[in-house]
Amino acid sequence: MAQSIASGRPEAPAPVRHINGRLYLLVGVAAVAWIIAYNVIQPIADGITYNILGLEHGSHFGDSLAFFLYDVPKVLLLLGGMIFMISIVRTFFSPERTRALLGGKRQGIGNVLAAMLGIVTPFCSCSAVPLFIGFVESGIPLGVTFSFLIAAPTINEVAVILLYGMFGWQIAALYVASGLVIAIIAGMIIGRLKLERYVEDFVWQLKAGTGGLQEHLTWEDRIYRAWESVKEIVGKVWIYVVIGIAVGAGIHGFVPESALASIMGSQAWWSVPAAVLIGIPLYSNAAGVVPIVGALIEKGASLGTALAFMMSVVGLSLPEMIILRRVLKPQLIVVFVGVIAGAIIITGYMFNLLIR
């Protein structure tokens, strides 16, 4: 007979391990619940629309409702799950660390690295100024700093998650890739133009930046922070998701196919620059714009025009430009917006050409 294993051994310090164990168990249970939920929403949405309410397949309202009932929980689940995982990754990066990684890299490589780091470094527009000053002060070239500042808000995790959830990984990957290319090239162009004199003078007079916040995080900290991120972002964004999907569902169910082909289709060559220009003053949460953009594409808008519109809305925001005015003189802001807009337009044309 097996003897009790525990006999004779001194008691290990239980409290800390006990708490950690429960946290991991909670995360595990949440993951399983998520997987189950994700798989039942389609049958439930169809069941409610076509069986319980008795609507017909192919009817305007029926199709709109099924679309809505399926996509809202699906998108919210995706947002919650992926933001959690992305936030965990982000706890390994900080602006201080990014600054250290970019220090000493010259143009070219620096731009590529800065754009990639813009995706994983946590960023919010209100932090644009301290971050800009911090980078520039520690000797990172202006163009490289701009590559970061363009990539970070444009390659917005909510936008990418929504594109993935609604249109599949290819479109999401396309969006990320074009965001990167635009950030890299725009940053390089701005670097070449040697616009240092259009940065507000006080920035150059501050002393060089090193050090700053140093944090050592445990896994418990990371999980806690990721969960806080999920609550914060989903809390801010869910209403726009619901509204956006409702509008998208309406377009999906009620607008006839190809209704938009004449004004937003690839035949209308002016649709790309027009889309970008309209998008500049508009600033919307990515959550609101993606479902609408998707429905537009379905009804005949070409992919290039729709993506260009989306990048313009999400990547060029009036509030952020106003904030950046504290450190950039107007000429530089104009160049900044112009170069990005130009790059987005070119990308829009490329997609229209490549994807018929």
Partner: protein, 80 residues
């Protein structure tokens, strides 16, 4: 207990205000005496090499940036 010198770094966005309110609330609830100053000019903020607002400075050291720590954590930072 000596007064804790606290500064909240931020240029006025909603999160910065929330950090200030939360810090005051925690200090009041736990009887910690603080002298709280708001720093809103970037010129002044950069003294602590902050890269993300809002920032929390306790006794002249930057202890948190870019987020609002939970109340227990703020209490620990104030008493450290």
């Amino acid at each position: 207990m000596a007064q804790v010198q606290v500064k909240v770094l931020g240029s006025g966005c909603a999160n910065c205000k929330r950090l200030e309110e939360t810090v005051r609330k925690v200090a009041a609830a736990r009887g910690i005496e603080i002298a709280l100053e708001k720093v809103t000019e970037y010129n002044d903020m950069m003294k602590w090499n902050i890269m993300q607002t809002p920032g929390l400075v306790v006794n002249d050291k930057l202890v948190s940036a870019g987020r609002i720590p939970k109340e227990d954590e703020i209490a620990k930072l104030l008493l450290a």
